[in-house]
Amino acid sequence: MEKKDFKPYLIEYLKDELDEETKKEIQSKLKVDLELQEELNEMQVVFGELNKVSIQKPDMQLKENFQKMMEENTAQAPGLFSSSISNIQNWINNFQVTISFKQMAYAAVLLLVGFFIGYNQNTGTIISGEKNQELSMEIEELRKNMMLTLLEQPSASERIKAVNISYDLEDADPKVIEALFFTLNNDKNSNVRLAALEALTRYSFNKKIRNGLTESLRHQNKPLIQIALIDVLTEMHDKSLKKEFNDLLQQGELDSDVKEKINESLEILM
């Protein structure tokens, strides 16, 4: 039992780091305990070998290199050494890596669109009026073309989308009006035709458009659209419509709901 107690002290004993009391104790113990003695001898051998291994001292070159690397790193890396500016820079660098090109393009488009919207709202305040007008005209042109292209889509839902774009157009562009009328008179889908009618209603103060709507009433054969057209036309309170409505009443195959509507409208127009 006692022997074990001394074992941990052997290393310190060899290094001569023990206090006098324990040193004496170990020495007296060593004289009696052979096993402990043997252990001490073994340890002495190991220590002897260890001492033979020379400790390599780092040369100056290494130190210099390290210093250099450190300086380089602190210039780039965030953390304790870098300033707040390089911190942000680094954050941006990281950010660029994580977002894809598509996302960047999307962001760019959004930024552009946002710019144009803001630009439109600040008419005349940013750049001189002339240039501004030129730009907003370009946007108008872009919207117009987009609308005209979408109107030719095979999907009826896309065509309604196209009609809805016309609401964003400032002026009653002849091409747009023409396209809306073409849709009103020819589109296969009733809901698209109704949407076109509603878009055209905005311009109904214009005599030409009113005439176009009256003309359209003669082409329509679907009661749902006939009635919607009669509603729009009646709201214009144009007395000349009375003749038009009466003519329509003479038609043989008129839906009973349409007849009812015309009679109501004629009363309003009286």
Partner: protein, 286 residues
């Protein structure tokens, strides 16, 4: 491709002969149409004059068209004169049975996954039951009598037009365009993720739309003589209606929009519902 469709039409013809069977009151024709590109999205065009159209999505890779007619019965019930004559024709002479009237054509064309179903249903009432793969877009139209029913279709777009009939669409995705003069339009959406607008119009009928709980939508409703009802989950825009201002030659024009606006969740693509004499119901699934 031409070759394939030729084979298809041959098949169709063959099936006509083999499957057009007789039953007691109704004459039934059934055609299985294989697709040029099985598994890929397709389109179904149906236009009939009299009769209902029922389309449902199935897991198969072909289009199955079943047509039924009860021509005699329909013809006479629509014929108001001569009740006695009708009776004598409807009750077969002793020892005889009715085999139905098979005198109608059912034409089916398949090309490039586009399937067109045509009938000459001017005089007889032909009901169609069509099964298509779920990823089919639908273009359905019936001019006079008959309802349109659609179930379980996830295709890109559904267009449905009727005159007297109602339009019932269940388990469908947006966008949808539907209109009928006299019937109701009832739609239950399973998904409204498409960014494209949907539109529903009726004159005498109700429009009843049910949205999925998580869907985002902007609702635009109008009923001239009916009411508009919405669930609590629909935020109704109570702000003043939109005033459109236009000026021309020094005269200002103001027109106030007739539409009511509302939102489901954060708002999204536009769903417009307009009827003159019916009601509009906007619901959100609980």
């Amino acid at each position: 491709m031409k070759y394939i469709s030729k084979i298809n039409s041959l098949l169709v013809l063959l099936m006509f002969f083999s499957l057009s069977g007789f039953s007691q009151e109704i004459s039934k024709k059934s055609v299985i149409v294989p697709l040029s590109k099985p598994g890929e999205p397709g389109k179904l065009y149906v236009e009939i004059h009299n009769g209902s159209i029922k389309v449902s999505g199935h897991d198969g890779k072909e289009v199955i068209v079943v047509s039924k007619t009860n021509a005699l019965e329909q013809q006479h019930s629509s014929n108001s004169e001569g009740e006695e004559k009708e009776k004598s024709k409807d009750n077969p002479p002793e020892g005889m049975r009715v085999v139905g009237n098979n005198a109608y054509a059912l034409d089916i064309i398949e090309s490039d996954n586009k399937v067109k179903v045509d009938t000459d249903s001017h005089y007889s009432n032909i009901d169609l039951e069509i099964q298509v793969p779920k990823n089919f877009a639908l273009y359905l139209e019936n001019h006079r009598n008959g309802n349109i029913e659609v179930d379980n279709i996830k295709g890109v777009e559904i267009n449905a037009e009727s005159h007297y009939g109602s339009i019932t669409l269940a388990n469908v995705n947006s966008p949808i365009l539907a209109d009928t003069h006299h019937g109701d339009i009832i739609v239950t959406f399973s998904d409204v993720n498409s960014e494209n607008p949907s539109a529903f119009s009726s004159y005498n009928g109700n429009i009843d739309l049910t949205f999925p709980k998580k869907g985002n939508a902007t609702i635009k409703t109008k009923s001239e003589r009916g009411n508009i009802y919405t669930d609590m989950a629909v935020t109704v825009n109570d702000s003043d209606p939109k005033v459109i201002t236009k000026s021309k030659n020094g005269t200002n024009y103001y027109s106030v929009e007739k539409w009511n606006y509302g939102k489901i969740n954060s708002g999204g693509p536009e769903f417009s519902a307009s009827t003159s004499k019916g009601n509009v119901y906007i619901r959100v699934q609980k």
